[in-house]
């Protein structure tokens, strides 16, 4: 479920909206080394092959690889928040805010399954109205099944 307003613009350049209006994360897959990278690449940053990288739709489920809990940030950013690095099923790694988990290191297990959801940017920043961004939520409590 994505509860951002329908006409909201995605903030991250590696985000696209499909024909049904659903936002998703864009990746690039290299046919030479089979690496998957977040965002658009013409040539492969891993193996350096030219012109054999194609755009793919990245998965909306993954596992938490790493995180930090940010307590001090820029003006307009709501703190504390969990900055999470997530390895997506099917390849690609993406960073985003982890929601619906207490910002307590003891309650954030490495490897926890998460879903990717798009929501209003105003959840995280004061000037976010009219924009959407990807967030992570624990998979067991997320609105979307795998």
């Amino acid at each position: 479920m994505n509860d951002g307003p329908n006409d909201a613009r995605p903030v991250a350049p590696y985000t696209a909206i499909d024909k049904t209006g659903a936002p998703y994360l864009i990746g690039s897959r290299c046919s030479a080394c089979s690496a998957t990278h977040l965002g658009y690449f013409e040539n492969c940053p891993k193996c350096g092959v030219r012109g054999e990288v194609s755009e793919v739709r990245l998965g909306d489920h993954g596992v938490l690889y790493n995180f930090t809990i940010v307590h001090r940030s820029l003006p307009g950013v709501k703190v504390p928040f969990i900055s999470a690095t997530v390895d997506l099923d099917g390849g690609g790694t993406v960073r985003g805010n982890l929601l619906e988990v207490e910002p307590d290191p003891a309650k954030i297990p490495f490897g926890m399954p998460v879903n990717v959801q798009f929501r209003s940017a105003s959840i995280a920043v004061e000037n976010g109205d009219g924009y959407i961004a990807h967030f992570f939520v624990p998979a067991d409590r997320g609105a979307r099944a795998r």
Partner: protein, 380 residues
């Protein structure tokens, strides 16, 4: 006679906030101090390598304050590895036989507050705090958390790095902060980005450092071998592709690459190193860097710290200067300031913090983006 390259003069200003200064005026101060350290003048310098992260043509503008001799000046920028990169360029030029006397200088006039990455993605609103955090404390907090994930390193161990380095700083009159911070004080300080509290973050300050390098032939002719420090190895690397580094910066692999180059060039190993000045921009970085620099085996960084081996008096003291955590971290100056500290020990001129019998020292810096430089030094 060998074609080795030597540091003959080196110095740094005590870092701090100098509101009326410019990068070039700070650079001029350090350059004159380094020249005085070897009794030379700007007229003896054949080429200059000048590092700063903010602005360009700093080296030329520095000469307006100390003498416009018309020598080639190369301005270098390489994030937090800027000063070490300028030093390395001077080393390479002498090693190549093009010059016999060069000046390397690093200087920075910093803004206040956190370093924020520029909104270069062209996004309609800034992504900081919206798609996670890319500011320095968060990047280095995750460097620590990755170590925690792999090896179970604790918040207390990371905090202990600050306690150690701040304790060392009380012996260094050139450290900006010379205050002990007991472990509890470090752990109870304001949390910035878990597991980093305010006392586990280096401070953005102004500063400069400079070195005069010479060929062996020139140093002998000038009668400067007595206090000369030989450059044994010089490594510089950019970040190779690793699985997540486009999203979560990998500060480890780039450091390992640079260290490998430096050790191979020197023909020595980590077991030969008597002291280390490494890039503790945040306390979480130090423990992984023990492993990256080969001071201990993979996963044993935490126990190396706990054993006391990296304290003054231990087997391989690390950041006896107080580190960036105490000295302050003026980006472009840091790399040469680290080399200054090692040089003082190898010359047996480090005063009350002298590492007894120090013969070989290692310096390390790493700048995000990424660049890492590792140097090995030995008393001539």
């Amino acid at each position: 006679m060998s074609n080795d390259v030597y540091i003959v003069g080196i110095d740094m200003i005590r870092f701090g906030r100098f509101d009326d200064a410019k990068p070039e005026t700070l650079a001029a101060q350090a350059a004159l101090m380094a020249l005085d350290d070897c009794g030379k003048t700007i007229h003896d310098i054949q080429a200059i390598y000048a590092g700063t992260c903010n602005g360009t043509m700093m080296g030329q503008r520095m000469l307006h304050y100390i003498g416009q001799t018309g020598v080639p000046v190369v301005n270098v920028t390489n994030a937090c590895a800027t000063g070490a990169t300028a030093f390395r360029e001077a080393y390479i030029a002498i090693k190549a036989g093009i010059y016999d006397t060069c000046l390397a200088v690093g200087s920075e006039k910093m803004g206040k507050g956190m370093l924020v990455p520029k909104n270069s993605g062209g996004t309609p609103i800034p992504t900081e705090g919206l798609t996670g955090s890319g500011v320095m404390p968060a990047v280095f907090a995750q460097m620590g958390m990755e170590h925690t994930r792999k090896f179970g390193t604790t918040f207390e161990q990371f905090a202990r790095v600050s306690e150690k380095n701040h304790k060392h700083s009380t012996l260094n009159p050139k450290a900006m902060y010379q205050k002990e911070t007991p472990l509890e004080m470090v752990m109870e300080a304001e949390m910035i980005a878990y597991p980093l509290t305010k006392l586990m973050c280096s401070v953005n300050v102004d500063g400069s450092a400079a070195a005069v390098l010479m060929s062996e032939k020139k140093a002998r002719e000038a009668g400067l071998m007595n206090r000369a420090v030989r450059v044994r190895g010089s490594g510089l690397a950019s970040d190779p592709f690793t699985e997540r580094n486009l999203v979560m910066q990998d500060i480890n692999t780039v450091t390992r690459l640079a260290a490998k180059q430096a050790y191979e060039m020197a023909g020595i190993g980590p077991e030969d190193v008597d002291l280390v000045e490494l890039h503790d921009c945040f306390a979480t970085a130090e423990i992984p860097h023990y492993e990256n620099l080969g001071l201990c085996a993979e996963g044993e960084g935490g126990s190396l710290l706990d054993s006391g081996a990296t304290r003054l008096g231990g087997k391989v003291p690390v950041n006896v200067s107080g580190g960036l955590l105490s000295k302050g971290h003026p980006l472009g100056a840091t790399g040469i300031a680290n080399i200054y500290e090692i040089s003082q020990h190898l010359r047996q001129e480090a005063g009350s913090r002298q590492v007894e019998g120090a013969k070989v020292g290692l310096t390390h810096v790493v700048g995000l983006g990424s660049a890492s430089a590792v140097h090995l030094f030995e008393k001539a």
